[in-house]
């Protein structure tokens, strides 16, 4: 099991490992690589779950949180194929109210920073996508990042549907704030900051589950499939079953002897 830790300065051990894994993944053009996995969300895969209905249940299929949890798990597993033990970091925008420096630097230690941007390549898009991702933070008038007060209030909401709707809206706010490709569902996941943002969204759900119950989820939705990940919603309720937890810090302690 790994701990997902907060986004930190470039020299932090977990960020060094993560950059290494991302640099490797971004260099792989086949289905093991970042470009392919980023394409699950919008162009070309269109698998992401936001506002759809399910024909399998009359209950409103609020699968936004489970689908994105499975998506993060899939990328994390792909990265662990390349760098054992690596975990996705989370961008706690209530603490860092700007694009984190480690995602904004063009180069780190003399190397191109794989967290700044990626090259989107979707030749089947019309017109074909073949360019570097871009951001434009704060350009939408009035938009701001959610605050600790916002999230603290949200965590007191005891109703799953209300909690899910409100957390999705805070999520949308951050996409709008980051700007550029993050404001387009088709291209958002190609920006590496997408996964740091979604790890924070997933963490807020995890914190809510700690308070209100891991199984606090509509029973009608437990068997809803989360395509293309080979899991259903019930499979992703417990993060420990997906091989991770969230923590504020973790440091290996040398053992003498």
């Amino acid at each position: 099991m790994v701990y997902r830790l907060p986004v930190a300065e470039a020299a932090a051990a977990h960020m060094v490992n993560f950059r290494q894994a991302m640099a490797q993944a971004e260099a792989i053009p086949d289905n093991r690589g970042y470009n392919h996995i980023a394409g699950f969300h919008g162009a070309p895969g269109q698998y992401c779950w936001h506002h759809q209905f399910s024909q399998r249940t009359p209950v409103q299929a609020r699968l936004f949180l489970p689908w994105h949890r499975a998506y993060l798990w899939w990328l994390e597993q792909a990265l662990q194929d390349l760098t054992p033990g690596v975990a996705l970091p989370y961008w706690d925008w209530t603490d860092i109210a700007q694009i984190p420096g480690v995602y904004a630097s063009a180069r780190i230690d003399g190397q191109p920073n794989p967290l700044l941007a990626t090259r989107m390549f979707v030749p089947t898009a019309q017109p074909p996508l073949d360019r570097t991702t871009r951001r434009a933070p704060g350009r939408t008038p009035g938009v701001r990042l959610p605050t600790a007060t916002n999230i603290g209030d949200l965590l007191t909401d005891t109703d799953w549907a209300s909690f899910s709707d409100r957390l999705e809206d805070f999520h949308d706010q951050v996409h709008v704030w980051v700007g550029g490709d993050m404001t387009d569902i088709n291209t958002a996941a190609f920006d590496p900051v997408f996964f740091a943002h979604h790890a924070q969204i997933d963490r807020v759900w995890y914190l809510w589950q700690v308070q209100h119950g891991v199984d606090n989820f509509p029973v009608e939705l437990l068997n809803e499939p989360l395509n293309p990940f080979g899991k259903n919603a019930g499979d992703v309720l417990n993060v420990q079953a997906l091989g991770y937890e969230y923590a504020a810090s973790a440091a290996a302690i040398p053992v003498a002897g």
Partner: protein, 131 residues
């Protein structure tokens, strides 16, 4: 009243991403003066949109499914639902009689849109209160 939600139904999100700010009994508020600091501010919602279509003809047309064995998820552009908790704002206006709602919508000034129409395109709005 322990809580009040302003609910927006049938939101068309084949649109650039935007922020929608809501004001009660403030018909004069506009894009320039809209601010969370106004005493009439009630809340906001954001929409992560689909500003463009990356597919061919018909790709972004939402169609109803009627075939018996088609239980695939509905179209990604299925119209959306949003709720905004407006409890505190509504309490301030409960004794004013009539309530008017103004929504100021803003997006990146450089954003483009694939189809014509207003940025905010909704089928219905509902104010729900809970005891």
């Amino acid at each position: 009243m322990s809580r009040a939600d302003l609910e927006f139904y049938g939101i068309n999100h084949f649109r650039p991403s935007y922020l929608a700010r809501i004001f009660f009994n403030d018909p004069d508020v506009d894009a320039e003066s809209a601010s969370e600091d106004r005493p009439t501010y009630a809340g906001s919602f954001a929409m992560l949109g689909h500003p463009t279509c990356f597919g061919g003809e018909g790709h972004c047309e939402v169609h109803e499914r009627s075939r018996r064995f088609d239980d695939r998820p509905s179209h990604p552009l299925t119209r959306a639902f949003k709720r905004v908790v407006v409890t505190e704002a509504l309490r301030r206006f409960l004794d004013k009689g009539e309530l008017t709602i103004t929504v100021i919508v803003s997006s990146d000034p450089d954003a483009s849109m694939s189809e014509e129409g207003p940025l905010l395109d909704v089928e219905g709005v509902q104010l729900t209160t809970f005891r």
